[in-house]
Symmetry: C2
């Protein structure tokens, strides 16, 4: 059933942008860390932190209707980045509980405020361009989310540009006939990260999109699936949401939040909903990067080149001889690289990473190792 | 002609230890640098700086008779290291003039003070053990230096332990018959740094010793050869030495020192003297290291091992995974090495070097490059 009575404009008025700002960005350690996570960095040299850029990209659609979900420790930094936020626009987690609880709580709070809200969830630490192509896709997603009797949970799938083995994929199904959303399709299935061979088949088929974790959905439909699949989580979030805009918020949250199960929103809602036929996808033809490693930082920046070395960081003074790779500097130190290939160096005031492009994904192990050895001051 | 009237003891009373403390140790940048040269570092983990260890090693022979030649900039640091020094025991160079001027001035000043002095010149930045073997060799060198009518310029040659291509060699000639110096021999020739093949032949022959730049000689004989081979240098040094222990020192030095030619003592004195038959050699069976690169620092220290990584520096917190090499840390930063082989990392508060063992000798190029780019604050 098509969107009927409501004009497209009024559907967009139901849209609230939710920005989960949670991940530490361990793969970018020591640049990104618990005290200064990825979303609080300007990783593209644009002059904006990733969270600010996320806000600005959504602002024309949300028209001031935002909900940022972040850790207690980041409240001040997030509010400095987005002074436009009212206190009621920020949801603080006293401890991290994975995306199921974070996004589920956003859905539950918004549902209490207005059950007709269509939420769109967009992580705070992704890089997207151009904005207008992204915004057009979100608009289609909002129309699709509002379509039919119950609406849809609408993912925005990224049109793949290479056979990535680092992302999950979404296989599109039949086209949906949604007014204002000509490219919306059903989701045939979500698939896990493929190996190289499979990824190449996906790319060649033209049927697969990258799962970027972006979705737009009526909060009511979100909560229905959450209740059906994760009743404990749902009950807890509902109890917190009921108290959220009352004087009882702190008491209830302190009591209930720590007891909630940790589960990703994909497993708690998206995949069961897809199996139930409630998930659609809108392809996005914009450039998208989750800045998953230092190679991504090299790609995304108009870095200066010192011979074959990409240098990021305005203060860095780099001398190179027979060297190649990338230097990310958060200091003003002199860095001399001599006779070393494909190196990745990340220099911060209290921690230094030296690895290679090939091994950069293992940075997570360093963080785990340092945690185990008690060197938590730099994590 | 043998040492005749004077007993061995009285010959040793003529001995003055000269310690040229000049080189920056560029190959150890950024640990060693102009403001904190090699000789002011404890590079062996012994608890003593190299210059202090040099002083202590010579003290039983010199019995308080020292002359340290160093740069104006290092006066305070040298005197902190060796509080035993009187002001008259320190010769300050207003600008570096190579070893010919530095050691020549020491000879000229000592000659003014007493023409019978036998000087022994020992660089401030070498590592030697055990002390008693070294001291026995120096004693033999002093006896040899005092032998005959004019005396000898006596080098102490190091018995080679491997076919080094990084040092010059001394080929020993016929044995000399010197009382108190049974191992003294004539010098057949000085030879330049050989290639590997030649170095192996030298080692196998048993006739060659490493030229460590150590020598013991009557100041009178030193100055005779200097006068014959470098008359301009000789005249200048003589003029400065005549004023040295007078109120005219500053005026004369300021006028003359800058005009002196830059030449190594080897070319100014040792080689011409050898050609004239005035040079002898005493073999030294002690362990000797000029700490020429970071690999040497690895060898000389009881470093701790993190997997295959040698870690120097008490404050360093190092995490390694699939890494090998050496980390020299002058900071308390966390350093994570992942998937990188044979790396050399030198971490100081204002400069970082990342290279490989194979390329470590090219560090000089980095220093030259940074000088050219104006980054002299870290040199």
């Amino acid at each position: 059933m098509k969107l009927s009575s409501a004009a497209p404009g009024s559907v967009l008025d139901r849209f609230v942008a939710v920005i989960p700002a949670g991940g530490v960005g361990t793969r970018l350690w020591p640049l990104s860390r618990a005290a200064a996570p990825k979303f609080l960095h300007d990783l593209t040299g644009s002059g904006s932190t990733l969270i600010r850029a996320t806000y600005d990209r959504l602002a024309p659609l949300a028209n001031g209707r935002f909900l940022v979900v972040t850790g207690l420790a980041h409240e001040a930094a997030v509010c400095r980045q987005i002074p436009e936020l009212d206190p009621s626009d920020v949801v603080l987690e006293s401890e991290p509980k994975d995306s199921g609880a974070a996004i589920g709580l956003a859905a539950a709070i918004l549902h209490r405020r207005s059950p007709d809200i269509i939420m769109g969830s967009f992580a705070a630490d992704q890089v997207i361009s151009p904005d207008d192509v992204f915004q057009a896709a979100v608009r289609e997603a909002v129309y699709t989310a509002a379509s039919g009797e119950r609406g849809k949970i609408v993912t925005i799938g990224i049109e793949p540009t290479h056979p990535s083995t680092g992302f999950g994929y979404i296989r599109g199904g039949e086209a949906l006939d949604v007014e204002g959303a000509p490219s919306a399709r059903a989701v045939a299935e979500f698939v896990e990260k493929p190996n190289r061979e499979v990824a190449e088949k996906y790319l060649a088929s033209g049927e697969y999109l990258w799962n970027a974790g972006m979705f737009v959905a009526p909060v009511k439909l979100m909560l229905e699936h959450l209740a059906a699949n994760q009743p404990v989580l749902y009950e807890g979030l509902t109890e917190i949401a009921a108290a959220w805009d009352t004087p009882d918020r702190d008491e209830v949250t302190a009591r209930v939040w720590p007891t909630l199960p940790k589960i990703a929103i994909d497993y708690a809602v998206a995949e069961p909903a897809a199996a139930a036929g409630d998930v659609a996808v809108v392809p996005g033809a914009f450039r998208w990067d989750d800045v998953g490693d230092f190679a991504a930082i090299g790609r995304l920046n108009s870095a200066r080149e010192e011979d074959a070395v990409t240098v990021l960081g305005e203060g860095a003074r780099v001398f190179t001889e027979d060297a190649s790779g990338i230097v990310v500097s958060d200091t003003k130190r002199v860095i001399a690289l001599i006779g070393i290939e494909d190196v990745v160096i990340v220099d911060t005031p209290d921690a230094l990473l030296v690895t290679t492009k090939e091994h950069a994904q293992k940075v997570k192990n360093a963080v785990a190792g340092l945690k185990a050895s008690g060197d938590t001051d730099v994590l």
